[in-house]
Symmetry: C2
Subunit: 303 residues, 2 copies
């Protein structure tokens, strides 16, 4: 029972929004003993009922203020677009001296939305655990979701270091590797490694659905040739992704511009049967795959 | 020993090109007892030596004519762009009355390349087993690669039905579901379900590699957000894919045109913060994912 005798990092953690990420965090907190109590808030009856049945939270509230008022750590796990209305409700009810963080895939807009609505004795540390699946809802969560994945924190200039270290310790205890960078840089990195890939996956699946010469039934039947992987990405939560694109507009449009530029060159190479140019790119991209696999092996060894 | 007493479909099968597909076919033939003998041809010493070590072929030749002259079924498993030079070599040495097929991802250009070089007593049935992995080479093959996957055959108008049925039976015995359609339609269907998805995966990985504000090391580190799936696709065999794009130019450019059109509309929706338009697409694409999963379940039940 040694796990139970170790003092947990927090007395109370409040989770606002019980979807895939929120419910996975609650499970991880329980599994690794990171808080005495976990309180959760969900907007709808049906999510609250599902979460209650799953039973890994100590209290589930239909009132966000009630959920956060005693919490030492509050984690916003709602879609990025919902932050503003949530923080307007809970901002002045957060416990004095507590830490506020979030899990959004965009960081610049989150700071813009949150900061004006909290008092100076709250330490707000924007965060992004880069982990997920194509499934959503509390029933899709699992404690191991974060294992060996990266979490990026983008603390503000005046961040209290001891609080930052507690939050780093929290995510590390969930199994994550933690990096610290500016919100602006985070938003650029994620635009190319996540947001634009999702956008083009959504787009190709949409294009395929609207053809007149190839039926939708043929598209689904012969998906094994490559298309299937795109549909997995393009089945990610629609609201969450709508909010990401609206809130990381500048970086997404910049990266998308480069993608289209490169695609136009590739299109021209095909039209003019420039096999060397195609082969050169395809050899280069294979190398990048190799370095990702290598990096993952390093990460696994490091853990 | 009942398997050994059943007469196999063919006395001799010749496999031209021993890569992922060729070696998987040889293994499947042995596993399911589909031929008395399997002969293989590979261009390079190193491939022949690897294939010899793996040991699932009865003979491995450095001479394509020798390989095919006694074969009742010859399967071209070389990249699509190599067909012409191969058929110029072997065309007049194919066994009278035998079946010739291929496994290329493009069918129109294969017919154009092959047909002028074979005599009338050879039944040429273009084929495409839609199965593969991102790995290449004889050591990557496995007998179960074809299980529950679709194989498309695109017989010519004057195809002898009994020969077509033998080839259908062959692929079914490897575990595949077989469909028959025109070469032209195949090339359109595959352009959208496979060729354009590969092209945009190669393209985004290339774009990410060439950024100045985001390092390559950051791209590989944070690949879990979606990018990683694209790098898997973009690590497929460069030569094979170069040949596919060069040989299915018209259909690829047509589908790519539509993709870019749709992407431009999406780009505009982001620029003008049109959340409804984004959400509408993202909900639709999620439905398509569901129908693919449903179709796969049906396929599995059907088997």
């Amino acid at each position: 029972m040694s796990n139970n005798t170790k003092k947990p990092l927090f007395d109370v953690v409040a989770i606002i929004g019980i979807g895939l990420i929120g419910s996975s965090i609650a499970r991880a907190i329980k599994k690794y003993g990171l808080a005495d109590k976990v309180y959760g808030y969900a907007k709808t009856d049906s999510t609250r009922n599902t979460a209650k049945k799953l039973g890994y939270m100590d209290e589930i509230y239909d009132n966000a203020i009630e959920t956060v008022k005693d919490a030492d750590l509050t984690i916003l796990c709602t879609p990025v677009g919902a932050n503003l209305s949530i923080i307007i409700q809970i901002g002045e009810h957060l416990k004095s001296g507590s830490i506020l963080t979030d899990v959004g895939s965009v960081k610049g807009s989150v700071i813009r939305d949150i900061l004006p609505h909290i008092s100076e004795d709250i330490t707000f540390i924007p965060g992004h655990p880069i982990a997920g699946t194509e499934f959503s809802g509390p029933e899709s969560g699992f404690a191991e979701l974060f294992q060996k994945k990266w979490c990026v924190l983008t603390p503000l200039d005046n961040c209290i270091e001891v609080k930052l270290n507690i939050l780093i310790k929290f995510w590390q205890s969930c199994g994550m590797l933690v990096d610290v960078m500016s919100a602006e840089h985070h938003d650029l990195v994620l635009a190319i490694t996540s947001h634009v890939p999702h956008l083009i996956a959504y787009n190709i699946v949409g294009t395929a659905a609207d053809l007149e010469k190839v039926t939708r039934s043929e598209v689904t039947k012969y998906a094994a040739g490559g298309f299937r992987d795109f549909t997995r990405i393009a089945s990610s939560d629609p609201i969450m992704w709508r909010d990401i694109f609206l809130n990381n507009k500048d970086a997404v449009l910049e990266m998308l511009g480069r993608f289209v530029e490169d695609l136009t060159a590739l299109q021209k190479a095909i039209r003019w049967s420039d096999g060397d140019k195609l082969e050169e790119l395809f050899v280069k991209t294979r190398e990048i795959r190799k370095s990702i696999i290598l990096k993952e092996d390093e990460t696994n060894n490091y853990k």
